[in-house]
């Protein structure tokens, strides 16, 4: 009998739990337990629509416990705080300390033993990295459904002021020089643009996209090359066209240093410092690991052995420090297994990337200003399933069964940035890239040109809507869920 514990119930953790339970069989002796501080699952890509009031929180979340009960998956509403990968004085099996956040046990702790562990804890939203950033400071966020609901309320107020004849400045973007998820901010700014146009107040609004990208279209993946009508074009040109067409201003290569009431302060790559007054600001935070500690069997602190300084977990990546020119696709992990422990995996945002994908840059003052690598829904789901398949094989065929592999330097990703939520008037900028991490040894442009494309139009909006319903169906483990690809 094997006990599998999965930390986190986001896209990668939830996917891992469902596939593992499916493969092991509901009535099997093996246990699958999910530990998550949240009682609800959130389809985060649709938070963008919540953030402009096109959807409500109930449209993008659902309670996890009924799904896990139906599937025979254990659920602890708790947050993991420490790992004991070599066991402790009482038991040589690995263990994880958790602190409950619900289920009537909030604040109590438990040590859960495991034979296999999947760390899918996702990011810590590090608003504290920038003074004044975030819903507890002076800016908004769409990272959670609650944050997005608050953003929608503030946007409505801004639109009311515009209707009353006031001019307003709206700033959307990244709240720190090392943020990731530029695609989400890009999508939100065009949803805001769409709302302002629908309200008939766009002419009185100044809409600014404030980003750590050195050029438009970088998206944290070093930009893309598209092939269109016999020419190779860049995602930079494609994105700049959209900004110009919609009248959205762009401030590039920016590190936000602090946010005050109505003013965002930032440094740019040339080392200059600036301030921008705003009436509405949605600025995303940088991500970090959730801050798990790790101990050996004697209680010695081995956190540094398992985790990078960022708090993300080390896996089978090449973490050797080297210049951008020497970065290779092979640096990226394939099995997501933690070095030294063939029963611990870290997937989704929880694993430590070997380096950025975008070219690293610092300002003239030495401030790092470059996007961190994104790990979007599609790769996160694939990683979760990959870890689940490896664990299943090892439970069934022995601990030395070969690990399954899924590198971000092989798999693709789709990014659909919608604008509007109407079936006839909505629009979207839809991109696909493959692979996510460019491989210049395989492709002259780093990526497969047949699969790497960007297009704008109504169809992208339909795709986004389809993905919303498909992935909620899948996450609820409804009929045929396993046939919907990650």
């Amino acid at each position: 009998m094997a006990d599998v514990v999965i930390l986190g119930a986001g896209i990668s953790g939830h996917t891992a739990a469902l596939h593992l339970r499916r493969k092991l069989g509901r009535g099997s002796e093996h246990t699958v337990t999910v530990v998550s501080p949240n009682s609800k699952w959130n389809w985060i890509p649709s938070n963008i629509w919540v953030g402009v009031g096109k959807m409500g929180k109930p449209d993008v979340v659902f309670p996890l416990e009924p799904v896990y009960r139906k599937k025979g998956i254990g659920f602890r509403q708790a947050k993991a705080v420490a790992l004991w990968p070599e066991g402790d004085a009482d038991d040589p099996r690995g263990a994880v300390d958790v602190e409950y956040t619900g289920q009537g046990r909030a604040g109590t702790t438990e040590r859960i033993r495991y034979d296999y562990l999947v760390n899918a804890t996702g990011p810590k939203l590090r608003f504290e990295a920038t003074p004044g950033l975030g819903p507890d400071g002076h800016s908004l966020s769409v990272c959670t459904a609650d944050h997005a609901t608050e953003a929608a309320r503030s946007l409505t107020e801004t639109i009311e002021r515009l209707r009353a004849g006031e001019e307003q400045t709206l700033v959307v973007g990244m709240g720190h020089g090392t943020c990731t998820c530029e695609g989400a901010a890009f999508e939100y700014v065009f949803n805001v643009d769409h709302e302002l146009r629908e309200a008939g107040v766009r002419d009185r609004a100044r809409l600014v996209y404030l980003t750590n990208e050195e050029r438009l279209g970088d998206f944290g993946v070093d930009g893309m090359t598209f092939e269109e009508q016999g020419f190779q074009t860049s995602s930079e040109m494609w994105t700049a066209s959209l900004f110009r067409e919609r009248g959205v201003e762009a401030i590039l290569g920016a590190h936000v240093t602090k946010v005050e009431e109505g003013v965002v302060h930032y440094e740019t790559l040339d080392g200059e410092f600036h301030a921008l007054a705003f009436d509405f600001a949605m600025l995303l935070p940088p991500f970090g690991g959730v801050g798990l500690a790790a101990y050996d069997a004697e209680g010695g602190d081995i956190t540094d052995r398992l985790f990078a300084p960022s708090g993300f977990m080390k896996v089978d990546a090449d973490y050797t420090a080297k210049p951008y020119e020497e970065w290779r696709a092979q640096d990226w992990p394939e099995t997501y297994q933690t070095p030294g422990y063939d029963n611990i995996f870290a997937v989704g945002i929880a694993f430590a990337p070997p380096h950025q994908i975008s070219r690293p840059r610092t300002s003239a003052n030495g401030t790092p200003i470059a996007p961190a690598p994104p790990r979007t829904g599609m790769p996160s789901g694939v990683m979760g399933k990959t870890a689940a398949m490896t664990i299943y094989d090892r439970i069934k065929h022995g601990a030395h069964a070969e690990a399954h592999r899924a590198s971000m330097a092989h798999m693709g990703a789709a990014c659909v940035a919608s604008a509007g939520a109407d079936l006839r008037t909505g629009s979207a900028a839809a991109m696909t890239m493959m692979p996510v991490v460019p491989d210049y040894a395989r492709y002259p442009t780093g990526r497969d040109l047949a699969a790497t494309r960007g297009e704008i139009g109504l169809s992208g909006h339909w795709v986004k809507l389809m993905l919303h319903h498909l992935f909620l169906h899948k996450a609820k483990a409804r009929l045929g869920w396993q046939f919907i690809p990650e």
Binding site: S241, A277, D279, V382, H410, P435, A451, E455, L458, S459
Partner: protein, 54 residues
């Protein structure tokens, strides 16, 4: 707008040379029959990625 700092707010990227879509392109982006075809093409591309890369 509240008067706090200069509205210019720093270095705004010059996008004046970015290509603008023509009326025909904008019409195509809204055309239901054409977009149905693009919808099918996009989904085919996603499935290709799933088959080749997952």
């Amino acid at each position: 707008m509240t008067d706090k700092t200069p509205a210019a707010g720093g270095p705004v990227a010059d996008l004046s040379t970015a290509p603008l879509p023509t009326e025909d392109t904008l019409r195509k982006r809204r055309s239901i029959p054409l977009q149905l075809a693009r919808f099918a093409a996009y989904n085919a591309r996603i499935m290709r990625m799933v088959i080749k890369g997952h």
